[in-house]
């Protein structure tokens, strides 16, 4: 268990330090992590993202807390709580250090050609990173990946309908959590 805790600290510090592109980019790092260590399944992580999106707080922090809880809770609920605290603090501490350094040399950082050049490529790379995170959630939610060209039909239809609805300009203001509730109701009624 000590080894798991140390790994959690290391992995979440790495995520906080490297995940350019905000909370959604953190999700991709979490996917890497669970694929490497097999701590939780892709479905569980998708559930965690759902909870993280529909509860208060930054998505990256919410997901980190939840993963920490899930990984250590097999040792007991108390360990789960500790796990959430450990992953959350590990995620935010390198970031705080980076920002303090940046804040000290704010003008230098802002006008640095090196930083601007790097972010010229990092911004689109972060979009690709988030797209990869989304792709793996799409795959696991639609039952893809078991067989090469298999996809569950009913979830696929619901998915396409929801995407189309969300892209309607009139529905832009609707709270995302309402779509999650709608998904949950459909899941219960259709026995997904």
């Amino acid at each position: 268990m000590i080894k798991t805790i140390l790994l959690l600290i290391f992995e979440f510090m790495k995520t906080g330090l490297m995940a350019v592109g905000g909370g959604m980019a953190c999700i991709r790092f979490l996917q890497d992590m669970i694929a490497r260590y097999g701590w939780i399944s892709a479905e569980e992580l998708a559930n965690i993202i759902a909870v993280a999106e529909s509860t208060p707080g930054p998505i990256g922090v919410n997901a980190a807390t939840y993963v920490g809880y899930s990984v250590l809770s097999p040792y007991g609920a108390g360990w789960g709580v500790l796990g959430g605290v450990i992953t959350t603090l590990s995620l935010i501490s390198p970031q705080i250090a980076v920002i303090v350094l940046v804040a000290r040399g704010l003008e230098k950082y802002r006008s640095s050609k090196l930083v601007n050049d790097a972010f010229g490529a990092l911004r689109p790379a972060a979009a690709g990173l988030v797209a990869a995170a989304g792709w793996s959630v799409v795959r696991s939610s639609l039952g893809m990946g078991f067989a090469p060209f298999h996809v569950d039909l009913v979830p696929l239809i619901i998915y396409a309908a929801l995407v189309a609805l969300m892209l309607l300009p009139k529905l832009k203001k609707i709270h995302p959590a309402l779509f999650l509730v709608a998904g949950g109701l459909l899941g219960a009624v259709l026995q997904l």
Binding site: M18, A19, P58, V61, L91, I96, A125, W135, V137
Partner: protein, 175 residues
């Protein structure tokens, strides 16, 4: 310091849907209520928070906290943001773990996951539209996606490679 902590505790407790929803809350609390920063400063911190790694909300909080109370201020503000989410998520995680044994809850979550996939798809469409401005940035978006999904590259290496590429490309463009 106590006031700083409470302000960010409040913001962390009412923000939904991640970093972007935080901006109006920051302006209301820090500019309108407390007069700690000007609106320009908040906008500036917020855009810088997106050009630094990690969760945007924590970066914004650290910037403001640092301005108010140096290193300790940065830490206090960030801890304020995570306090309520940490409690809420821990409780939900503990409750859900017990509920997951019921088939009904499993069906509900199967549906919720589909909605999450849809939500992420829409977010990605908007994000890519914003980030891909020209042929080079389109190529980077696509290359990053393929490297991660098809080639199975680790995200850390992608970030390192993209940063290095940006710097080299900047040099080359100038030369």
């Amino acid at each position: 310091m106590g006031e700083l902590y409470l302000s960010f505790l409040k913001i962390g407790a009412v923000m939904f849907g991640g970093g972007y929803s935080m901006l109006p809350l920051l302006i209301r609390e820090l500019v309108d209520n407390k007069h700690w920063c000007t609106e320009e400063e908040v906008l500036d911190y917020f855009s810088l928070a997106q050009c630094t790694p990690g969760v945007i909300a924590i970066n914004s909080a650290t910037f403001v906290g640092y301005k108010r109370g140096k290193v300790l201020g940065g830490i206090v503000a960030s801890l304020g943001v995570v306090t309520v989410p940490l409690l809420v998520i821990t409780i939900i995680a503990a409750v859900l773990q017990n509920l997951m044994a019921y088939p009904l809850v499993q069906h509900i979550f199967a549906g919720v996951r589909v909605a999450v996939a849809a939500l992420m798809t829409v977010t990605i469409v908007r994000l890519v539209k914003k980030a891909a401005k020209d042929a080079v940035s389109w190529a980077i978006v696509i290359a990053a996606f393929l490297l991660l999904t098809v080639a199975g590259l680790d995200s850390v290496w992608l970030v390192v490679m993209a940063g290095a590429f940006g710097i080299l490309f900047g040099r080359w463009k100038k030369a």
